[in-house]
């Protein structure tokens, strides 16, 4: 076991007071069981969180652990659109910070993009964990990160066991098809032309061995393989 400082500055960001209260009591329990001491600040929206972060920077204090909700309402100036943006700000401002993302999204595409863009020390799917796992996640993130909840691990395993190599754009295309985006509207969210997207889509069908003209099969298989 590595030697750790036992005092931590903690920021909890979630728009539901019930949830932040639960996290707080988890930290309180840990204080009793282990030799930890937590200094906890709570924010219920992205503006408030941003303000708190700036205050900590101004005071030249450290931030050690952040509990971060992904689906937060955007900030009023529109610069922070989700928890992911907030997470990136935090990572940039505090080199040693440990972020535990907790999200209620369980689609593979979203989780994949969180892992890729934010690479948090902890990743929990809210309705997938029980109280004990919540306690364990905090402890493990402090002692030997990372900690991923079961569903995330399942997804990662599925992906590793696949022979297919799909890049980010392929995934994005699959994701957009699965949520029903029309081909003609895809260039709005994917940096490719309609023709190029169509070509990639056909390649994907080939990769997955699909002969049917409609996209339903493609989506079913991609889901099965854990790409979306």
């Amino acid at each position: 076991m590595t030697q750790v400082t036992s005092r931590f500055n903690v920021l909890i960001i979630d728009d539901h007071p019930l949830i932040t209260a639960a996290y707080k009591s988890a930290f309180a329990l840990l204080e009793k069981e282990e030799d930890f001491f937590f200094d906890i600040v709570v924010s219920h929206n992205s503006d408030d969180a941003n303000k708190t972060i700036n205050q900590i920077i101004d005071k030249k204090e450290s931030l050690d652990i952040v509990f971060l909700d992904i689906s937060l309402p955007p900030s009023q100036d529109g610069k922070i659109l989700s928890g992911e943006d907030l997470g990136n700000i935090i990572k940039k401002s505090f080199a040693d910070v440990k972020i535990i993302v907790s999200t209620s999204h369980n689609d593979n595409h979203r989780i994949h993009s969180i892992l890729k863009n934010l690479n948090p020390e902890g990743l929990l799917i809210k309705n997938d964990i029980n109280p004990q796992e919540l306690l364990r996640s905090i402890k493990e993130v402090i002692l030997e990160p990372p900690y991923y909840s079961k569903m995330v691990l399942k997804m990662l395993r599925k992906e590793i066991s696949n022979d297919f190599v799909l890049d980010e754009i392929d995934r994005k295309i699959l994701y957009e098809i699965s949520i029903g985006t029309l081909l003609k509207n895809m260039p709005e969210s994917i940096p490719l032309s309609v023709a190029a997207i169509k070509k990639r889509k056909n390649q994907l069908k080939e990769i997955f061995g699909i002969t049917k003209p409609d996209d339903k099969e493609l989506i079913l298989i991609a889901k099965e393989k854990g790409f979306i």
Partner: protein, 606 residues
């Protein structure tokens, strides 16, 4: 002659009412965009936002004018919401006004009344506010114009209700009073720019219609004279001709045929050199009315004008309805031609023989041709009624569709609410409970843990429901064939029914025109729902085929069938019929008790 008088009254009254009601419809909504830029300048906070909303409202307005009421309503309601958030009173009021007009136009009169009354009250308040502060004159006058338009629209709404109520005398009186009050408010307004003059002239015309319905022809005439002079000031020749036509009608009702004739001649002089379909249609009516007045004056020049009316009418090729009318018209012209030919022969003979019985024959011919005239006019009105009925049906479909898209919106909303609200709160509570330090025995603790796991399962169920809801609302972004597949899968979820689907070409079926696609999907949904609910079938067969001219959809089941003669048409079926009528298609239902049902939909390709 007494019988004739009666006939002529019956015959002319509808023409007058028709012209007047045309006034109501056309003028109630002729609505030009008003620029309220000045008002935005005084609110410099969040000005960008407001300008955006202003543009949105103008968009809703132009949609309204294009008669895309469903879209217009959506946009207007959105603007209203935003305006409420920004506490922009003027925008709120303008949105309410537009929404009121949309409801009115789609015949939801009570909703229309609610919104229009609300907006009118607020316009008045805004007007008073502006009166107090030392605002720019043109802002105040914009609001005054809007207020007056709103007043007038309310008047026409009550007018419409008044016209359409015939049994309930008490209601009729209330509607009439309200109509008069609002119209009078319009004509008593002391502003007088061109927009307001136009409104006033419309109010006068409509008032005259009400007076004429009460047989108070003198007052009716004086209103029309005022409308006429306003139209003159506005240099609206066509409007003047309309007014003159109505004036001549009041003379006609008073049996002053000479004056009626003179007035009509004035109107004809105004219309003669005018181009455009409205002028032409009016011309037909004018010549027609003139012919009748002359007939009443026993001036047999009537025939010349009657012919002119026909010739003009022939020239109008507005739409298909008009073409049908023309066919009928041509036939009657031929008959009339024969009659005219005969008449000339008779005249020749009259010269040589001067037998008095020939005059009798001519009278008979006149009566006969008038009878033709009557039939023709009835046919024309029948066609008009058919056109209006079609429009009603279209509106019903609009309502149906907006109901369905409303349901989808609602599904999305519930899905989001479940996912982001309920689910998060449940999770928070479960965590909170689980982290409580309970001081209990082992058994209670294990019960407690079980219950916590139970809660977790509930969360999973809610999440599944939320996803399911989101999926259903996505139906529109799938292709037609995918939609049908998905619908079949979700309708026959238990797998007890064997369903076969056949498309003769996915290419053709996935490239249907959007409205047709949407309507077909809803029709097939209806059929499948009926099979599930009533048929007790074990096999269902859907086939989608096309030939050179038609799309053909056949849905067969081997269920218990029903007796088409005995079963009443349910709402579902009549909705289907409405949708099919919209595309000029046909719906055939064949059903044999205990053998099954076959539904055949044929839609012509365009």
């Amino acid at each position: 002659m007494n019988r004739f008088d009666q006939l002529s009254m019956n015959f002319f009254k509808p023409t007058l009412v028709l012209v007047l009601s045309l006034f109501c419809i056309q003028f109630g909504f002729s609505h030009s965009n008003i620029k309220l830029n000045l008002i935005w300048q005084k609110q410099d906070t969040a000005q960008q936002q407001i300008n955006k909303e202003d543009i949105q409202l103008n968009k809703a307005d132009s949609l309204f004018r294009k008669r895309e009421y469903e879209e217009s309503l959506k946009v207007a309601l959105r603007v209203l919401d935003d305006a409420k958030q920004n506490k922009d009173d003027l925008l709120i009021t303008r949105s309410n006004f537009l929404i009121g007009k949309i409801w009115y136009r789609t015949k939801s009169y009570s909703k229309g009344l609610k919104y229009l009354r609300l907006s009118l009250r607020n316009f008045h308040l805004l007007g008073e506010e502006n009166g107090d502060s030392s605002l720019n004159y043109s802002i105040a006058s914009d609001i005054d114009l809007l207020t007056l338009r709103n007043t007038f629209t309310l008047g026409t709404l009550y007018h419409r209700l008044y016209e359409e109520t015939s049994k309930d005398l008490a209601k009729e009186a209330i509607y009439k009073d309200s109509t008069l009050i609002y119209y009078n408010q319009v004509i008593e307004s002391d502003y007088s720019n061109d927009d307001i003059k136009l409104l006033k002239s419309k109010a006068y015309s409509n008032l005259s219609g009400i007076m004429s319905r009460d047989e108070r022809y003198d007052i009716s005439e004086s209103y029309l004279q005022k409308a006429l002079s306003l139209k003159k000031e506005l240099k609206d020749t066509l409007g003047m001709a309309y007014a003159l036509n109505n004036i001549s009608n009041t003379f006609f009702f008073k049996k002053d045929y000479q004056k009626s004739k003179e007035t009509l001649l004035k109107a004809i002089a105004l219309v003669n050199d005018k181009q455009g379909s409205r002028a032409e249609i009016l011309g037909v009516d004018l010549y027609f009315n003139l012919a009748y007045s002359l007939y009443m004056l026993k001036d047999y020049e009537a025939y010349t004008y009657l012919e002119k009316s026909y010739i003009l009418n022939d020239e109008i090729e507005e739409n298909e309805k008009q073409k049908i009318l023309e066919e009928i018209n041509a036939k009657h012209n031929y008959d009339l031609g024969v009659l005219f030919g005969k008449q000339q022969e008779e005249l020749k003979r009259q010269k040589t023989t001067r037998n008095s019985w020939i005059i009798g024959t001519i009278s008979l011919l006149i009566i006969l041709s008038l009878a033709f005239l009557l039939i023709l006019n009835r046919l024309r009105r029948k066609n008009l009624r058919l056109a209006l009925e079609q429009k009603d049906k279209d509106l019903e479909i609009i309502k149906l569709d907006s109901k369905i898209s409303g349901q989808e919106e609602e599904r999305k909303r519930i899905s989001l609410e479940l996912h982001d609200g309920v689910l998060s709160k449940l999770f928070g509570s479960r965590m909170g409970l689980g982290l409580l330090e309970l001081k209990t025995d082992k058994e209670t603790q294990s019960n407690f843990d079980n219950l916590l796991n139970e809660l977790k399962d509930i969360e999973k169920e809610i999440r599944d429901v939320s996803h399911q809801l989101k999926k259903n609302s996505r139906i529109e972004s799938l292709s037609f064939t995918e939609n049908i597949d998905q619908m079949i899968n979700s309708t026959f979820r238990n797998g007890k029914v064997k369903v076969e689907t056949h498309f003769d070409s996915t290419d053709i079926w996935n490239n249907l025109e959007n409205t047709l696609e949407g309507n077909l999907i809803k029709m097939i949904q209806e059929i499948l729902q009926n099979i599930i609910k009533h048929a007790k079938a074990t096999e269902v067969n859907l086939s989608f085929t096309h030939d050179k001219n038609n799309f053909i959809i056949r849905v067969k089941d081997n269920g218990i069938g029903f007796d088409p003669k005995k079963s009443k048409k349910g709402i579902g079926l009549s909705n289907m019929q409405l949708r099919i009528d919209k595309f000029n298609g046909s719906l055939k239902i064949k059903s044999v008790i205990n053998k099954g049902t076959q539904v055949l939909i044929t839609i012509p390709k365009k």
